[in-house]
Symmetry: none
Subunit: 150 residues, 2 copies
DNA sequence: CAAAGGCATGAATAAATATTCATCGCATAG
DNA sequence: CTATGCGATGAATATTTATTCATGCCTTTG
């Protein structure tokens, strides 16, 4: 049997990597990853992880929490990872369209002590570091997390 | 027949005023308010309004996204605004449980040039100011907005 | 070792939510 | 006026998700 922790890890990973519209679909993807699970268990997992089902432009989608911020930070430009000029105390990550929430909650879930929190738009994540002094270190830390697939 | 617009207004109002855990409950509350609606229609309304069902410490709860009427702000009790010690570059607003989103999006919608964006949890809003220098001014500005909503 | 308690789990079932399908009222074009 | 189209709606139904009810596997305690 697969450990609960590992399974939930994989669930998060899957939810971050693509659009999944319901638990049935999730069950199938887990199966492809070699993890068999009953719908009842998955429902409980989703509950524990705080996964919520919400409507999108095209159908439904399971989303992880902390995907909450809905505001769009205007005027943000930038590729990859760079610091914001505006107040020099935040980090901006550009993602593929629609993926920002995923990246943001992935970072949240890492629970980095150097990060206070994130704001995710559609294709932009704003990361608030715990300290402005360490900002370049935090950038490196994030980059390493994002480049190494879990 | 009740107009769709009016009904959806009332739905928002109800969701703001108390915890509602499922559509059946919502139907009953609407009925008490003199609005009869079939579950099918309510499901569509919820979809249009972006209402989502999420787990809380105690059971389930229907929650609204973004746009929250100003009236909610008026009803806030015991709200405190304080700066975060952690990095001295953000502002924390404590709200009643479940109201943080409302406050956050209210602030967003004010479109203050001194504010980059907000992060809303369940009862906490994190406000990111455009500049750390002006942080105390921003706190004042927010306080005035929250204390005397139009 | 045996007993007891606690998780984690799946099968079956219940509950909640979404969709299909038909209809109605209203507006507009002919 | 009649026909046509369209959005809103409810009843019935389908789909999805949550819960109940065992059961098995650990761990702890005696």
């Amino acid at each position: 049997m697969m450990s609960k922790q590992l399974r939930q890890m994989k669930i998060k990973e899957l939810l971050h990597s693509r659009e999944i519209s319901n638990q049935g679909e999730l069950i199938r993807m887990l199966e492809q990853a070699g993890i068999e699970v009953a719908q009842a268990t998955l429902s409980r997992d989703c509950s524990e992880l705080g996964v919520v089902r919400s409507r999108t432009h095209s159908g439904y989608r399971l989303v992880l929490p902390n995907d909450t911020p809905r505001q769009i930070i205007r005027g943000l430009v930038g590729m990859e990872v760079q610091t914001i000029e505006a107040n020099e105390n935040a980090i901006v990550i550009k993602t593929l369209p629609g993926r920002a929430h995923g990246v943001g909650s992935y970072l949240d879930q890492l629970n980095m002590s150097s990060v206070l929190g994130t704001i995710a738009g559609d294709d932009t994540v704003l990361v608030i570091p715990a300290s402005i002094r360490q900002i370049s270190l935090v950038v490196e830390e994030i980059q390493s997390h994002l480049s190494q697939p879990s």
